[in-house]
Symmetry: C2
Subunit: 295 residues, 2 copies
C-alpha cells in the first residue's frame, strides 16, 4: 500500500541525483502526485523533458516552487544560498524544503536564514552516486539499500522529518539521523578525502615525463583504475563540496598525511612489522564493511 | 591450432596468480603437457591437489623443478632470492625461468646471480589480480585482455623470451617489453602508490574516535568502499613489493604528497580555479583510460 507523501514535489537541479530520484519515483507511482522539475540549464531542462522525467518543467526555480508541498535542492552545494534566497518568497506555508547535498553544516548556514516561517527545512544526504553526471545519468535503483542521512535541527517540524524519511524509504534507502557537524566529519573521511586523493593522484601521474605518462595510461593496473573511476566525478559539484566542508576535510587530510608519511618512512627503513600491521588493519576494516553489507 | 610450449612447467607458489595460471591452462589444453605445482605451505599444496590444479605436487621446490623446461616463481617477491638459490642446482640446461613479481629491478638483483649457465631468466609481470588470495582464488579469466610486461636483459635467449610471450598470449594477455627500471617507475604510480594510500586511509579511519569509527564503517560511501577493496590485498605480498620497489615508490609518494598538499592549500584558501582544473585533468585521464580500454 503506497502512501501519497507529496502532492507537488519540486526537484531543483536535474543532474545525476535529481534524475535518479525522478526515475525511482516512476517505479513507485502514488508517492508523489505531480513531479515538477526545475533547472537553470536550458539543455538539462530540455533533456529532462525529452526523457519524460517529470510532469512540469520550469527554468525559474521561484516559479517552480509555487504551490509545492515539497522541494528538494539537487544542485551543487555552492549554489544553495542563492537558490534559497530566490525561492523563499514563493514557498507555500506547510511546504517541506530538503536537499541532497554532501555537506550539511554549510547547507544549514546557507539555506537556514532564508527558510520562511511555516516552512520546515529537513537537510538530507543520500550516500549514493556514480561518477556520471547530468539528466541522462538518472538510475532507478541508485538508492536501493543505501543510507540517506538526515540532519534536521530543532526548527524542523517532526512531521516534516517523518515525511522526508518516508520519501527516502520509498526510494529504497535506509535512513539515519545525526548532527550536521558529526555528518561532516564522517563523510569527510569516507567520501570527501578519498575523492581529494583520487583527483590528486591522477594529476601526479599526468605530470610525469611524457614517455612514462603514456605508459601509465596504457598499463593502468587495478589500483589506479579504481582511483580514476571516482576521479571522473563532476568538477563543480566536488569543488563546492571541498570548499564547504573545508574544516573537516582538512583535518582528515592532515591525519591521513601523517599516517602516509609514517608508512613511507616504514618503507624507507624496511620496517616490515609496521607495514604488515597496517595492511592487516586495512583487511579487518574491509571485512567489517562486508559484514555490514556496505561492500 | 594450439602449440605445445612446455613439456613440464612448474608453478612455485600456488596463490592467487599461480592458481589463476593453472586454471587458465586447463582452458587451453595442449600448451603445457605436465603442470607441476610446488608450495612450501602444506595447506596450500593440499588444497591445490583437492582442486585438481596440476598433475604433480611437491613441497620442495628443488625436487619440483627437476627435468622441467619451464619454471614460474609465483611467491611474494621477498622470497625469490632463497627460492632461486634452492632450485638453481636442480635446473635442467635449456630450462626457462620466469616469475610474476610486481617489482622487476629487485627480481633481477635477487634471482639473476643464481641463474645457472644454459638457463634463461625472463622476468614477467601480469598486470592482473584481485584482492583475494590463496589457491581457491584462481580465476580462469584473470589475464584476459590484460597486459603482461616482460623485462628480460641481454642474458636471456631470444627464443626463451618468445616462449614466455607465447605462454602469456595463450593465457589471454597482451605482452610488452620494457627495462626493469622503467617498469618499476610506471608500476609504482599505477599500482604500488595507490595500494600504499589505500592501506593508509583505512588505518586513518580506524584511528578515529570510537563513535565516529563505527559510523565510518556503517556509512562508507562509494569513495571509501573502492579504497577498502584494494586495501584487502595480501599483507606479505604487499610488504615485499613496497620494500623491493622502495626507490620508485618513495619518489612517486613524494610527488603525490606535494600535489596533495597543494590541493589542500587550495581548499583552505578557496582557490576554486585550481581545484576545478585538477578535477578536470582527472576526468581527462579517466577518459584516456576508457579510450585505451583499460577501465
Amino acid at each position: 500500500m503506497v502512501e501519497l507523501l507529496f502532492k507537488r514535489l519540486v526537484i531543483i537541479g536535474i543532474g545525476h541525483i535529481g534524475a535518479s530520484i525522478a526515475r525511482t519515483l516512476q517505479t513507485v507511482p502514488g508517492v508523489v502526485e505531480t513531479l515538477v522539475i526545475s533547472d537553470t540549464s536550458p539543455a538539462h531542462l530540455k533533456r529532462a523533458q525529452e526523457l519524460g522525467l517529470g510532469a512540469e518543467y520550469f527554468a525559474d526555480p521561484g516559479e517552480a516552487v509555487k504551490g509545492a508541498d515539497g522541494v528538494i535542492l539537487c544542485t551543487p552545494v555552492g549554489s544553495f544560498a542563492a537558490i534559497a534566497e530566490a525561492i523563499a518568497p514563493h514557498l507555500t506555508k506547510g511546504c517541506i524544503l530538503s536537499d541532497v547535498g554532501s555537506t550539511k553544516q554549510s547547507v544549514l548556514r546557507d539555506v537556514g536564514p532564508h527558510v520562511p516561517p511555516g516552512v520546515s527545512f529537513v537537510p538530507a544526504h543520500p550516500l549514493a552516486g556514480t561518477e556520471f553526471s547530468g539528466p541522462d545519468a538518472g538510475l532507478a535503483d541508485l538508492f536501493q539499500g543505501r543510507w540517506c542521512l538526515l540532519t534536521p535541527d530543532e526548527t524542523a517540524a517532526p512531521e516534516a522529518v517523518k515525511k522526508i524519511e518516508a520519501l527516502w524509504t520509498a526510494l529504497g534507502a535506509r535512513t539515519a539521523k545525526m548532527t550536521p557537524a558529526h555528518h561532516d566529519r564522517v563523510i569527510a573521511i569516507v567520501s570527501h578525502l578519498p575523492h581529494l586523493i583520487a583527483f590528486t593522484i591522477c594529476g601526479t601521474a599526468d605530470d610525469l615525463a611524457d614517455e612514462t605518462r603514456d605508459e601509465v595510461l596504457q598499463f593502468a593496473a587495478s589500483g589506479f583504475r579504481d582511483f580514476t573511476r571516482i576521479a571522473a566525478s563532476d568538477p563543480v559539484m566536488w569543488r563546492d563540496i571541498f570548499i564547504n566542508n573545508k574544516d573537516a576535510l582538512l583535518e582528515m587530510f592532515s591525519r591521513f598525511s601523517e599516517d602516509a608519511q609514517a608508512m613511507a618512512r616504514a618503507v624507507r627503513w624496511n620496517d616490515t612489522a609496521y607495514i604488515e600491521d597496517k595492511i592487516n588493519r586495512s583487511r579487518k576494516i574491509r571485512k567489517s564493511l562486508i559484514d555490514l553489507k556496505q561492500a
